[in-house]
């Protein structure tokens, strides 16, 4: 498999502030890669480096095997879509789409052909002669995608393209983006802080924190087998329950509760006893009939109930530790009740207390 974008030992510093540190990332041909992280983690900075809008402090960037570290943004074979759309306000949609092509001095007929093709794909034909001011948010973002599309590039860069849209439109456009990727089969690099977008769109997700990639893997891996405490906490809503305890001979002990870790796949066989953190996703806790079949069974005291329609969120206490449980939306639970729950250790995650890495 060939690589579309390769980043080698990339450093970026603004003065004394190191935003990216010794970052390596290989992105496959036709892959949809999402850079995910909270604000200030360096994900947008990394995207700007790939685009050539920021000069790197050290390291190299390859696109299609060509070293583009010193190349101008327009020479890199990339198209970029911005959060604020960044449409040229005084030009019509057609003008916006053809601006880059005119700069590249393409023949008129070719420009016309490409603009029409992009307009067809994005269904913005009727808008071509309007100015951006007369478009809705969703239409504007479509034009912004079109502007990247007409350039016939190898790599698309998206900088939080859906963050300025309202919730419903965001979902619609998300689906459309996925369809677009299936149709075009281009490499796409997509920056977001929204984990739903990341999970739904990505072939692979790179979770970033403090200028470093915490974990790079498929959405399934990231969700089910988070490599460290940060990723485990960041992914999933409501977030994972964490209980601190000791790992002793295959059993996990929290206060006086003992959880035998049957079925849990350790990365390395655990020989010594040490303090650790167990993470259990609220949606992996079973209730009702299913408790009987669960390997581990506990009783919890219900503190608070949040019905959300599609599901119900329970804030409870397991022993003296707060514990969140996600139940079916039709579940009828009152605060103050005692609820029987079941946990499957094979779906849990255990982390070393000190290194915060998965065991």
């Amino acid at each position: 498999m060939t690589y579309s974008v390769q980043i080698k030992q990339l450093d970026l510093a603004f003065g004394a502030v190191k935003v990216l540190q010794n970052l390596d990332l290989d992105i496959h041909e036709g892959e949809f890669l999402v850079l995910l992280g909270s604000s200030g983690c360096g994900k947008s900075t990394l995207l700007n480096c790939i685009a050539g809008l920021l000069e790197v402090t050290d390291g190299q960037i390859f696109i299609k095997g060509r070293n583009v570290t010193w190349a101008e943004p327009s020479e890199r074979g990339i198209g970029m879509v911005f959060q604020s759309y960044a449409l040229y306000p005084q030009m019509t949609v057609r003008g916006n789409l053809s601006f880059g092509l005119k700069n590249a001095r393409l023949p008129k007929a070719e420009i016309e052909k490409r603009v029409n093709r992009a307009a067809d794909i994005l269904q913005i034909q009727p808008l071509l002669d309007r100015k951006p001011g007369a478009l809705s948010g969703g239409q504007r973002q479509r034009v912004a995608i079109g502007r990247a599309l007409v350039r016939d590039v190898d790599v698309f860069l998206f900088d939080e393209p859906l963050s300025n849209l309202d919730a419903k439109l965001r979902v619609d456009l998300r689906v459309e983006l996925k369809r677009l990727h299936n149709q075009l089969q281009n490499t796409m690099i997509y920056v977001t802080h929204d984990q739903i977008e990341a999970m739904t769109l990505a072939d692979r997700i790179a979770v970033m924190k403090g200028g470093k990639i915490m974990q790079l893997g498929s959405p399934d891996e990231i969700y089910n087998r988070p490599r460290n405490l940060y990723v485990a906490d960041f992914i999933g809503s409501p977030s994972m329950n964490f209980l601190e305890g000791r790992l002793e001979g295959g059993n996990f002990k929290v206060d006086d509760m003992v959880m035998p870790m049957v079925g849990y796949e350790f990365l390395t066989p655990q020989t010594s006893d040490h303090t650790a953190v167990i993470g259990i996703r609220p949606e992996h806790v079973v209730t009702g009939e299913l408790v009987r079949n669960a390997p581990l069974q506990f009783d919890v005291d219900v503190d608070l109930v949040e019905p959300m329609g599609s599901d119900t969120l329970i804030y409870a206490k397991l022993g003296r530790h707060p514990f969140r449980i996600r139940m079916d939306g039709q579940a009828r639970v009152k605060s103050g009740e005692v609820l029987a729950i079941g946990i499957d250790p094979s779906r849990a995650s255990i982390f070393d207390k000190k290194t915060e890495d998965r065991l």
Binding site: A51, S74, M80, S84, A86, L87, Y88, P89, F99, R147
Partner: protein, 299 residues
């Protein structure tokens, strides 16, 4: 009970009294202040429309009994300065010849400066900007003599070109600040998008930034027109009598000590001189306010 209270209670917009104490106070104060401010202008206008015999009667505030435009004609084409008796018109055209090149030169350079400082940050650009801004706070008077020497050395002393150069240089700090602040307030992503689209320094300036910057160009124009047209100091120092701008000529007319003091002509001449900035201001006042506000929010 509760229902009745709901029905009869206040509803819709709260009625406003037009003759409340607050309103009387507000409008009264405003009226008084504008009266105070506009009175001199009124005196100028009525005096310029009176004949000399009427002025000698001493009724300064009274409207003209017989309106005459003769003082205006005289001020424009007959008033004497030194040995020339062709009125203010020569000064007017001199001022136009100074104004237009200075305006174009200073605004084009300052806008490009501001654009470069806002969008193309280079090493030391902040220092450069600071130095430029300090220039705005140095009193003109300290630079008069050095500039005399510089102009003499490059052979521009006494010519219109020299004065144009001086105006362009002195307009630079404040105009650059204005343009830089405006360009930084434009979304940065627009600039990035244009770079990805392959536009260069000039491409982005002419195709993206310029079309979005009309308000700030109007502001710069008003500032420069007013400043350059009203300038007296540089005009009197760096030109010679045949190229004196209108303000200097006006001074020479008003301050000439020979013969009778023709107040009506003096007033007409002064009004004529002030008319250009006034027209510019009225024509583009709305854009001016918008531009100032746009530059002020961010920067």
């Amino acid at each position: 009970m509760a229902d009745a209270a709901l029905r009869d209670g206040p509803r819709g917009p709260k009625p406003k009294k037009s003759f409340s104490r607050a309103n009387i106070f507000l409008y009264g104060t405003l009226l008084l202040v504008s009266l105070y401010y506009l009175l001199p202008l009124y005196v100028m206008i009525v005096t310029s429309l009176k004949g000399m015999p009427e002025i000698r009667m001493g009724n300064v505030f009274g409207p003209p009994m017989e309106i005459t435009f003769e003082p205006w004609v005289k001020a424009w084409s007959e008033a004497c300065t030194g040995i020339n008796c062709d009125g203010l018109q020569r000064g007017f055209w001199n001022s136009v010849n100074i104004l237009i090149p200075s305006l174009i030169l200073s605004i084009s350079i300052a806008s490009i400066n501001g654009y470069a400082l806002a969008n193309w940050r280079f090493k030391g650009s902040e220092t450069f900007f600071t130095i430029l801004i300090i220039g705005a706070f140095i009193p003109y008077q300290t630079m008069i003599y050095p500039i005399v020497i510089i102009l003499r050395e490059v052979g521009l002393m006494g010519s219109l070109g020299g004065l144009v150069l001086v105006h362009a240089v002195f307009g630079m700090p404040i105009l650059t600040l204005l343009f830089r602040n405006y360009f930084t307030s434009l979304p940065e992503e627009l600039f990035k998008a244009a770079r990805v689209d392959g536009a260069g320094f000039w491409g982005i300036y002419f195709r993206i930034m310029l079309p979005m910057s009309l308000p700030i160009f109007v502001v710069a124009m008003i500032l420069q027109v007013t400043g350059i047209w009203n300038d007296f100091l540089f005009g009197v120092i760096y030109t010679k009598p045949s190229t004196y701008p209108m303000t200097v000529q006006l001074n020479n007319i008003v301050n000439s000590v020979q013969g009778v003091k023709e107040y009506n002509v003096n007033m007409a001449a002064t009004l004529l001189t002030g008319i250009v900035p006034l027209v510019i201001y009225f024509a583009s006042g709305k854009l001016f306010v918008r531009g100032i506000a746009a530059g002020a929010v961010k920067g």
